[in-house]
């Protein structure tokens, strides 16, 4: 019997990935279906639905789901979900597909059929509706009015660009996932399914597990956050983004090596598990922090470490907005429908010469001149958004 937090949604891990004879039969069938190319974002979403990472989602969202998520963080059946998980197609493709049809979703980079989908709903997404989604999902304290937001979002917000560039229609319906793509081979030992991370935690007898989200090389602040988590939980799950990379991003294998040397040299090894997940960034700031907690619950984590500017995008969000959003989301009463994974909120951290170690605004009484900041941008933002509650001496 597992002591771990149950998967989100109250239905266990809902895995859409087929295996064995069922998989072979579906692959054969898929060859005869209309082939629709997918984006890297949809590919990641499909794999997560395949392995139960997005439990309880088992398909792309209907219009009612989309609206509920945008407005109230709830899909149509009343279950908490923080970000739309939708699938867009061109008008030409939409015209050739009717509700009830089955289609094959193909990764255009590899020509691999990633999934089949039974289309239960086809709905147009007007420019105004896309804008509505952007304002609901991506607007934050950095640009509190729609006017301010749109002045810079179209050019500077990659999440907004992604949504505005979506094609004219969305298709909803359940999926059968046929592949985990390159992940099991390419990231052997790092890429895991939620059932695998849960087994590792169970084998160690863990109950409270904190997740540390990483997409950059692990630096001193991350190390500090992970160690705080180890102090208050049974263990920490260092979970790296291994999805689609952009030019200049440090490859996942290098980041994994950085974590390996850190864990080996500076952690009690059996208090740490390292893993990887197949998504790309959605650039949704605070809402992305919620998504991180939602799928970490499925991986078996009861706490999500949320530090300064979690999943931040430029100046769009307040430095601690990804923490406070957890206090504002609805908590449906029906069992399973509320998010159970709670944030482990950690203040702005830095190296302090006088403390002679890592510290945070809650623990270090010294001045700005004693503190080493990780980058200038964070300093500027921090002063702007956080100064009133946490005055810096010696400014």
């Amino acid at each position: 019997m597992s002591n771990l937090i149950p998967p989100h949604g109250g239905k266990g891990l809902t895995c859409c990935l087929l295996e064995g004879a069922e998989l072979e039969a579906e692959k054969k069938k898929a060859a005869g279906l209309k082939q629709i190319p997918i984006t890297p974002r949809a590919k990641g979403d499909l794999i997560m639905m395949g392995i139960g990472g997005f439990s309880p989602l088992t398909g792309f969202m209907t219009k009612a789901d989309w609206k509920g998520v945008c407005d109230n963080y709830l899909i149509a059946d009343g279950t908490f979900w923080p970000i739309p998980v939708t699938f867009d197609v061109s008008r030409a493709d939409a015209d050739a597909i009717k509700e009830g049809d089955e289609i094959a979703l193909v990764d255009p980079q590899t020509n691999v059929v990633m999934a089949t989908m039974k289309v239960t709903e086809k709905y147009e997404m007007s420019e105004d509706e896309k804008k509505y989604e952007c304002e609901k999902v991506f607007m934050g304290e950095g640009t509190p009015s729609a006017d301010e937001f749109w002045k810079i979002a179209k050019d500077d917000h990659p999440g907004v660009q992604m949504v505005m560039n979506q094609k004219e229609f969305n298709l909803a319906g359940p999926v059968k996932v046929l592949s985990e793509a390159e992940y099991p081979e390419k990231y052997k030992g790092i890429y895991q399914r939620p059932e695998e991370s849960r087994k590792i935690f169970d084998d160690r007898g863990w109950k409270e597990v904190a997740a540390l989200q990483l997409r950059n090389p692990m630096h001193r602040s991350h190390e500090y956050l992970a160690k705080i988590a180890v102090e208050v939980c049974d263990g920490v799950f260092i979970h790296s983004l291994v999805g689609n990379l952009k030019p200049g991003d440090i490859p996942a294998d290098v980041r994994v090596k950085c974590i390996d040397v850190l864990v080996k040299n500076y952690f009690v090894e059996d208090k740490v598990v390292q893993g990887g997940y197949p998504l790309d960034m959605r650039y949704a700031g605070p809402r992305e922090g919620l998504l991180h907690a939602t799928f970490r619950q499925n991986y078996g984590c009861s706490r999500m470490i949320i530090g300064r500017d979690h999943a931040g995008v430029g100046d769009f969000y307040g430095m601690f907005e990804a923490q406070t959003i957890f206090d504002k989301i609805p908590a449906p009463e029906e069992p399973g429908k509320a998010l159970l994974c709670t944030p482990l909120k950690i203040d702005w951290t830095f190296y302090c010469h006088k403390c002679d170690g890592m510290a945070s605004l809650r623990t270090c009484p010294h001045g700005k001149e004693d503190r080493v900041l990780l980058d200038r941008k964070s300093t500027r933002l921090s002063l702007r958004h956080h100064a009133p509650e946490a005055p810096l001496r010696g400014r």
């Binding site: 990659p158 001193r220 980058d375």
Partner: protein, 47 residues
Amino acid sequence: MLRKLLSEGGDLPDHFGRDEVVVVLRDYYENLTDKVEIKTHKAATGS
């Protein structure tokens, strides 16, 4: 390494960290055959 970086002043690298991590990163950068601008997505700032 940390002290050296600090004593030299100027911009601290985004990924400043333990010596062992710096070695891994330096190794990666030195072996990059295809030189690209080393930074994460311009707009993404958080973890």
